[in-house]
């Protein structure tokens, strides 16, 4: 009898303790409001869904401030610099890292991560070690695994009639382009007019042989197309650490080397109407994404979102027909040290880790622990998986475990090349420029690209002027400081 009473009392105590703990967890951040700066549109979707779940569970409030792409940088940086501190959490692209982390505006997360692991070791090393840290300290959690890939119409590439005709015209087997020359050949071959045949069917509209993102402005434009091609033509010891922008010893820009000129020549040829759609220099990410999934274009290079887009019944006319591969490469490379061209045995590739959204907590956040709890929630568990599968979030896989997750593999079952292509692309990933004023450097480069592609200036002249502009930006920011920052970003010792 006494045992029964004791047991009952013990159970009741346990229940009460559990109930109390649950209530406490539910009220853990009661009264706390966290303000999040996120890009407007699809990239805010996760905040409007998952973040609100977290808020409800913790008695907190999450305000999502959507910022337009064209002014997001100015608004975030002005707020941080002037101490307005309107945002507790900022979701930013990796090339702002030099300004935000380097500027001391981010809260260090090392202690939080030790106490409350966000699956740190499950992060893909390239994002964990390159994008989330500044020096030895951790300041960010990656929420998006961006790396540029090559998307194409697999059904057309493997069509027997097309293969036969291609071989007859170009003298080699039609396949996934391995080099930029092959890319141009395939683009020319598949560029068809309304009324012509494609894979045995008569076209009701023009079909574009390719569509490269070439638009200046808007932020998601031509720079990354250039970097993909330029990086493939460049040989330095630090390509895959992000060493394609400057000489780390002298801060001499590398963009105006023959590798840069060659890249622009390829882009000009690709933009020719004989190889691409009518958009030409006005094609941005959204245009290409829509055209690709609508089945209007044969191929292009862009973000991994192409995979889920191609499977989305709301927008895709090519479900199951898309193929994915690592970006084409170069057959020769410009050796920066030797100042000469060298042929390579296998194509040399460079896939920009373009943008790659990171979450940081404002260094002056009033509730850093609550903010950490929220960002940890956003990058773990079912959320991370959802981003890998859904076409609505604009986010891509950033964890190792996701590549073997059964739900993820099942989601991409009809496009089996997607996951292997993503994994292979990461092995040739090139980080963005992550030093202060990266936005200004990219802006100058974008203008040069546009002027060269429009024929206003020769590629060499345009890139030389951009390089002069880069030097001026470096001098304004402090040459020695920028050199130290750049070497830091590459993982090199400060000299």
């Amino acid at each position: 009898m006494r045992f029964k009473v004791k047991a009952t009392l013990a159970c009741l105590s346990l229940l009460l303790a559990l109930f109390g703990a649950t209530v406490q967890a539910a009220q853990q951040y009661k009264g706390v409001t966290l303000r999040v700066a996120a890009l407007s549109g699809s990239l805010s979707h996760a905040w409007h869904t998952h973040a609100q779940e977290w808020a409800k569970a913790h008695g907190a409030r999450v305000e999502v401030i959507e910022l337009p792409l064209t002014s997001m940088y100015e608004r975030v940086m002005t707020d941080l610099i002037t101490g307005g501190n309107q945002y507790d959490i900022i979701q930013y692209p990796s090339f702002w890292k030099g300004d935000i982390m380097g500027g001391g505006f981010a809260y260090p997360l090392d202690e939080f991560i030790k106490q409350d692991d966000p699956g740190w070791n499950d992060y893909l090393p390239v994002y964990r070690d390159r994008l989330s840290k500044w020096g030895d300290r951790i300041y960010g959690l990656q929420i998006d695994g961006d790396v540029w890939m090559f998307g194409y119409r697999n059904d057309l590439l493997s069509h027997p009639d097309e293969k036969k005709a291609f071989k007859a015209k170009y003298g080699y087997e039609l396949g996934v382009p391995q080099t930029w020359q092959q890319f141009l050949d395939v683009a020319e071959f598949f560029n068809r007019k309304k009324g012509e045949k494609l894979a045995g069917k008569t076209l009701a509209n023009d079909f574009y042989g390719s569509e490269l993102i070439l638009k200046r402005g808007g932020g998601m434009g031509s720079v990354w197309t250039f970097l993909t091609i330029f990086g493939s033509y460049l040989k330095t010891p630090h390509v895959y650490d992000g060493g394609i922008y400057f000489d780390p010893n002298t801060m001499e820009p590398l963009i105006n080397t023959p590798a840069g000129v060659q890249a622009l020549e390829v882009m000009k040829k690709a933009a020719d109407r004989r190889r691409s759609g009518p958009g030409g220099l006005d094609v941005d990410w959204s245009t290409f994404g829509v055209d690709f999934s609508a089945g209007k274009t044969m191929m292009g290079i862009a973000w991994p979102d192409l995979g889920p887009f191609s499977l989305d019944p709301k927008r895709s006319n090519i479900i199951g027909d898309a193929g994915f591969a690592v970006v084409p490469g170069a057959e020769k490379v410009w050796n920066v040290a030797a100042k000469q061209w060298e042929t390579v045995e296998k194509p040399h590739r460079a896939a920009p880790l373009a943008w790659g959204w990171t979450l940081v907590i404002n260094a002056k956040a009033r509730q850093p622990r609550a903010a950490y709890d929220l960002i940890k929630y956003m990058v773990t568990g079912e959320r991370a998986k959802a981003y890998a599968i859904s076409p609505d979030d604009g986010l891509d896989p950033f964890r190792k475990s996701l590549f073997s997750d059964q739900d993820v593999l099942k989601a991409y079952k009809t496009i089996p090349t997607f996951i292997p292509a993503l994994q292979e692309s990461l092995t040739v990933g090139v980080p963005d420029l992550m030093i202060p004023r990266a936005v200004a450097y990219y802006d100058a480069l974008e203008i040069a690209i546009d002027e060269a592609l429009r024929g206003k200036k020769s590629p060499q002249q345009a890139l030389s002027e951009a390089a002069q502009r880069w030097k001026r930006i470096t001098d304004e920011a402090g040459r020695e400081k920028q050199r130290a920052n750049y070497r830091f970003a590459l993982g090199l010792p400060a000299k």
């Binding site: 638009k215 200004a440 920011a477």
Partner: protein
């Protein structure tokens, strides 16, 4: 009874304080900034660099290119607005039924925020989905790459400005027309003057000073244009529609080189002052004729 200095101070004080705080101080602070090199990221005391920023401005090709774009924009849009505005005023001056309703409708574009106007036309000018190209295609004229062709993009931006601000010139011209005494017009008609002669030698000289002032006001506004360009083209394609104020904004808020942006702003102020003075002299000459 004359007010003593205490009364004057009390009455004028708040206004003067407001002006000093929100007009004079920012102007002087910006001028000081233009002579320094302020790096926001280091947050140090900005060192004095003298005229270095202004010297850099003289050799900044992109600044002069943006100024050229601005002057082209202003010259074209103001000319079109004056011609169309006077024409509009003449139409609205006619005693037809419903003219009051027409007058109300005509001012609607002016009431829109420039951002809204810019976005509206961005939709209209859309190369593939916009109604303008659709109408052109129906008329057999072919599509125009309004916003992606450098040859057309500035024209598109000018069109937006003309659409929005022609009514402004029209309203001012109309007010001048309605204040004209009837006798000179009647006398001219009696003397056998035709419509064109009446307009050229009687009406136009009488309203010229008002139209000139409207042109100056539009010019000053046009030199500061930012929002329409920002929304419509963001300075593109390339830098073909990058006006001076947009370039200043990019220097100040994308590169965070506020010192150089301050120097640029003052450079633009001096240029604008010179233009206004030149045009104002023209208005003075017109008035005294």
């Amino acid at each position: 009874m004359r007010a003593g200095w205490k009364e004057k101070a009390i009455l004028l004080g708040p206004t003067v304080a407001w002006l000093v705080a929100f007009s004079v101080f920012p102007l002087l602070y910006t001028l000081d900034l233009a002579f320094r090199q302020w790096s926001i990221f280091t947050r140090e005391n900005p060192p004095w660099v003298g005229f270095e920023n202004f010297r850099n401005l003289l050799f900044d090709g992109r600044f002069w290119s943006s100024l050229k774009t601005t002057l082209l924009y202003v010259g074209s849009s103001v000319t079109a607005e004056v011609i169309l505005g006077v024409g509009l005023a003449l139409l609205l001056w006619q005693p037809v039924r419903g003219s009051r309703i027409f007058r109300a409708i005509v001012v609607v574009p002016m009431l829109l925020s420039p951002v809204v106007a810019g976005y509206l036309f961005r939709m209209l000018f859309h190369e593939t989905a916009g109604p303008l190209n659709h109408l052109l295609a129906m008329a057999g004229l072919g599509r125009v790459n309004w916003l992606s062709d450098p040859s057309w993009a500035l024209a598109a931006a000018i069109l937006v400005d003309v659409w929005q601000w022609t009514p402004f010139v029209g309203i001012l011209a109309l007010a001048a027309l309605e204040s004209l005494p009837a006798e000179p017009l009647e006398a001219a008609r009696v003397d056998g003057a035709g419509n064109w002669h009446l307009f050229r030698h009687v009406i136009l000289p009488a309203i010229a000073h008002v139209v000139w002032v409207a042109a100056i006001l539009r010019m000053v506004d046009g030199l500061r244009v930012f929002d329409v360009i920002f929304v419509l083209t963001h300075g593109g394609p390339g830098v073909s529609t990058e006006v001076a104020s947009l370039y200043t904004y990019l220097v100040g808020f994308k590169s965070f080189n506020l010192s150089y942006a301050a120097a640029m702003s003052y450079g633009l102020v001096l240029i604008a002052l010179g233009l206004v003075r030149f045009l104002a002299r023209g208005a003075g000459v017109t008035q005294h004729k």
